[in-house]
């Protein structure tokens, strides 16, 4: 049993069996992080390069910790301090990194498709840690793991994804993932943040948050990405918060045991109120814990066996 692929570029290309394999493997890895000695020797001598062209704390740290707990050597390259600012192209950067014989490059980039392009240039594994508004596969995997942990299943669940769908790679990866495992997904957001034709990905779409929340098992709130909005998509933050922010009152529309996810970092009082974010049904910190386990599983499944030549 293994992933028969070199790279993890998106959820779209994964079959239900592959997603399930990653989730089951991750369930076993959760235990490693609970030990006193949080390290297994499995990927001794392997090198992982974290190449981040966009700021990130959670994801980069999570990948780094995951690699280190597997005994791989993790190297972080932050672009502001690299040759990219001297004008080096992605292709040249890739060739140069490859010459140092890494086993895996984890890449985050503002442009959709960059990891795919990189995967074509290099022989080592490439993991997409977020490319533009396209995909963020490891985030969707950790979201699915978290839901599966709490609900025991994914099939048959109702999932509502609320917020800025247009700019969200997290939303896209989660739509692919949850629908592939048999959940029904509804996305909701202001008309300016709801791309026309999103239904083609297999979800329902609405501008009415209450309608999306009705009888839902999982509520996934998205961050308002102020840094991606050169123009404004809504009149004021207060108005957005009133219509699309999650508070206890709106949460009552969902099932009584509904769980709440947020990929972080959260804007308290904007898309989610503090009492909900810190409330009993919030899984925000479980998501972070599971993030390490999922990334360990991905490293194990991509790097843990001999290369198919």
């Amino acid at each position: 049993m293994r992933l028969k692929r070199k790279d993890l570029l998106g959820i779209e290309e994964l079959s239900a069996e592959e997603i399930t394999l990653i989730l089951t493997t991750a369930e076993s890895f959760r235990e490693v992080s609970e030990r006193e000695i949080k390290k297994v020797p499995t990927l001794r001598g392997r090198t992982v390069i974290n190449l981040f062209y966009e700021p990130s704390t959670r994801t980069r740290t999570s990948f780094e910790i995951a690699a280190k707990r597997m005994s791989a050597d993790a190297v972080n390259i932050s672009v502001s301090a690299s040759s990219v600012v001297k004008g080096e192209t992605l292709k040249d950067t890739a060739r140069n990194l490859e010459a140092m014989r890494p086993d895996c490059i984890v890449i985050r980039h503002a442009s959709a498709g960059t990891p795919h392009m990189l995967a074509g240039y290099v022989g080592c594994s490439v993991i997409n840690a977020g490319d533009g508004a396209h995909e963020h596969p490891s985030q969707a995997l950790l979201d699915m793991l978290t839901v599966k942990e709490k609900k025991g299943r994914i099939e048959g669940l109702k999932v509502a994804i609320i917020g800025d769908i247009t700019h969200s790679r997290v939303a896209r990866s989660n739509i692919y993932g949850f629908t592939r495992l048999g959940a029904s997904v509804t996305v909701a957001g202001p008309p300016t943040m709801l791309p026309p034709g999103i239904e083609a990905l297999g979800c329902k779409a609405t501008t009415n948050m209450e309608a999306a929340l009705k009888d839902t098992d999982v509520v996934m709130m998205l961050r308002i990405q102020l840094e991606r909005q050169k123009e404004s998509f809504f009149p004021t933050i207060r108005e957005y918060s009133r219509l699309y922010g999650l508070n206890e009152e709106k949460l009552r529309k969902a099932k009584p045991d509904a769980v709440i996810l947020h990929p972080g970092p959260i804007n308290r009082g904007v898309e989610i109120s503090s009492e909900v974010a810190d409330g009993p049904y919030s899984l925000i910190l479980d998501q972070v814990t599971n993030g390490v386990a999922v990334r360990m599983a991905v490293f194990y499944l991509l790097l843990g066996a001999a290369r198919e030549e």
């Binding site: 089951t24 076993s28 890895f29 390290k39 297994v40 194990y300 843990g304």
Partner: protein
């Protein structure tokens, strides 16, 4: 469940049946108690999948004899194997389940078949990451020989001399619907 039994296939030979396995486990349970002068400080850890079920059976037998139920769990050796990154196929991960701190405890490690000794080595390394046991003792249902490492079982259900190419399979009620030990001739 429909199965061929009683050596229907000439390639397959039943070496132990349900009763023989139970008798062997009962003897091993007595030996464990005798050698450790009781059950104090004992922790029984099976190597998944079948080693774990054998550990649970041993726990039951020890309880029947001594009236005490030693803590029992599972130690998965997968992440410590020496053939990861060499073999093209990847073994699925199993669950690790160490029920209590193993510091200062006597660990009875249980596996179904002892062959090269490599799994035992990996499992011992895994255990060492959880603490410093007083000692580790190895109990196996079948010892089929051909060790590649200096490892020896403390308790053996049955010695079955084999050729390297033969297969030895342990089937257990819990996982396979029937309990038996079979040898299979090498298929070329």
């Amino acid at each position: 469940m429909l199965r061929f039994r009683g050596g229907v296939s000439p390639m397959k030979k039943i070496m132990m049946d349900d009763k023989a396995i139970e008798r062997a486990l009962a003897r091993v349970a007595h030996e464990i108690i005798e050698r450790n002068k009781g059950t104090e400080q004992l922790v029984i850890l099976g190597i998944p999948t079948r080693g774990y079920h054998l550990a649970v059976r041993l726990q039951k037998k020890i309880e029947e004899i001594e009236g005490v139920k030693p803590p029992t769990g599972a130690v998965d050796a997968t992440l410590y194997r020496d053939d990861l990154g060499i073999k093209k196929d990847q073994p699925p991960l199993k669950k690790m389940d160490i029920p209590i701190s193993i510091d200062g405890k006597t660990i009875i490690m249980v596996d179904d078949v002892l062959f090269t000794g490599r799994t035992t080595r990996a499992a011992m390394n895994a255990l060492m990451d959880f603490g410093r046991p007083l000692s580790i003792q190895l109990a196996v249902l079948v010892d089929r020989g051909h060790r590649e490492l200096p490892i020896k079982a403390d308790y053996v259900g049955k010695n079955i001399p084999t050729s390297r190419k033969e297969g030895v399979k342990v089937h257990l009620e819990e996982t396979d619907g029937v309990s038996e030990v079979v040898t299979e001739a090498a298929v070329d």
